[in-house]
Symmetry: C2
Subunit: 211 residues, 2 copies
Amino acid sequence: MTGTEHGSSPQAVTAAPRPVTRLIDELCRLPGIGPKTASRLAYYLLRSPAEQVLSLAESLRVVKERTVLCSVCFNIAERSPCSICGSAERDVTQVCVVEEPLDVLAVERTRLYHGLYHVLHGAISPVEGIGPEELKIRELVSRVQTGQVREVLLATNPNLEGEATAMYVARQLAPLGIRVTRLARGLPIGGDLEYADEVTLGQALEGRREF
Amino acid sequence: MTGTEHGSSPQAVTAAPRPVTRLIDELCRLPGIGPKTASRLAYYLLRSPAEQVLSLAESLRVVKERTVLCSVCFNIAERSPCSICGSAERDVTQVCVVEEPLDVLAVERTRLYHGLYHVLHGAISPVEGIGPEELKIRELVSRVQTGQVREVLLATNPNLEGEATAMYVARQLAPLGIRVTRLARGLPIGGDLEYADEVTLGQALEGRREF
C-alpha cells in the first residue's frame, strides 16, 4: 500500500469504461435486474462472441418494429388481425378475457381452449391509478355487441386487482344477455396466471362456472 | 369448449409472434435467465417506450465496438493503455492480479489500493479445461521482468480454482525476487461467527493479529 491509503487521491476510484456503465445502467432498468446482476450480464456480454451480442441488439431493435396490437383482440402480433382472430379454426362464439399477452400463451399451452381472446392490457388498480378506461374494456363490450360472441370467459389473475376487473367487466356485459364465466377455483389466490402449470390451468378451464 | 378439446386441431397452440420468440431465445442465452424470466423481460420491453428499448439495443451494439483490452493489464477499457495504466497517480511498483474485470472494480471501490492491475481472464480449472496457457499469466511474468514492479498482490477468488491459480502464478514469479502477497483470509465484516464455515474460521484463527 502507498502512503495515500485513505482516499486522498481524487481519482482513486476508477469506474468501468463508459460504454460498459451505460449498458449496466440500461440493464438496471429491466424488472428484477439490480446493479450486481446488470454488471454480471454486461461483463458476460463483453466476453461473448460479437455475433451473439449483435444478435440480441438486433432482436431488441426489431421486436417493437415488427409487432403490432391486433385491432380485434389487442394481443401482440405480427399482423392485424392476429393469427388467432384470423383463423377459421377458432370458435368465434367464445372470447377469453386476459390481462396480458403472456396470459394468452399460458391459456394456449393448455390446448383446451379454441375460442378467441381479448387482452385488457392490465387490471383495475386504484393504487396504481389504473381505472377501467385505461383498459380495453369498452372495446370488449362493443366487440360483444356487434359480433357472434355467446360466451365471455373471464381469465384475469386470481388476485385482488384481477377479481375487481372481472367483476367490473361482468357487470358491463350483464345487459348483453350472453354467458359470462370465469376460471374455476383451483388457482392459488395471490398467484399469477402466467406461472400456473398447464394441468392446473387446464383444470381451471374445464371447471369454469357461471359468474 | 368446442368438441375438439383434446388437441385434435393441429394448430391449437399459438406461440408468441416470431420477433418476440426470437428475443426470448436471445435473452435465454444470458446467464441466470431462464425461459420464464426471458418471457417476462420480453413482454416488459414490448410495453416499454420504444426509446428505452432502442437505447438498450444501441448500448449492446457499441459495448464491444467501443471497448478494447488494455495491452498492459488486459482490463476492459475505452483505450489502450487504460486509464489506470496510463495514470501518473498510480503506484507502478504494485500490481494486483485478479481473475476478471469486475474484480478490478471491486478492489477500486475500497479506495485503499493505488497500484496497477493485471487481469488474468479466468482461473485455472481442469474441470472446465482451462489451463495456465489460456490465462494472461505469461504476459504477467514478462510484465514483471521488464517493469518496475516490486510487489504482486494475488487477489484471485478464495475458492479452489482461485487458490490453484494463485499458487501457480506465485511459483512463476518466485525466480524474479519480488514480493508476492495475497489478500488476507478471515471473517467477512457484518458476518456471524456461528455461520462461518470451518475453513474461513480456521484461516481467521491462523491469521489472527494483535488487538
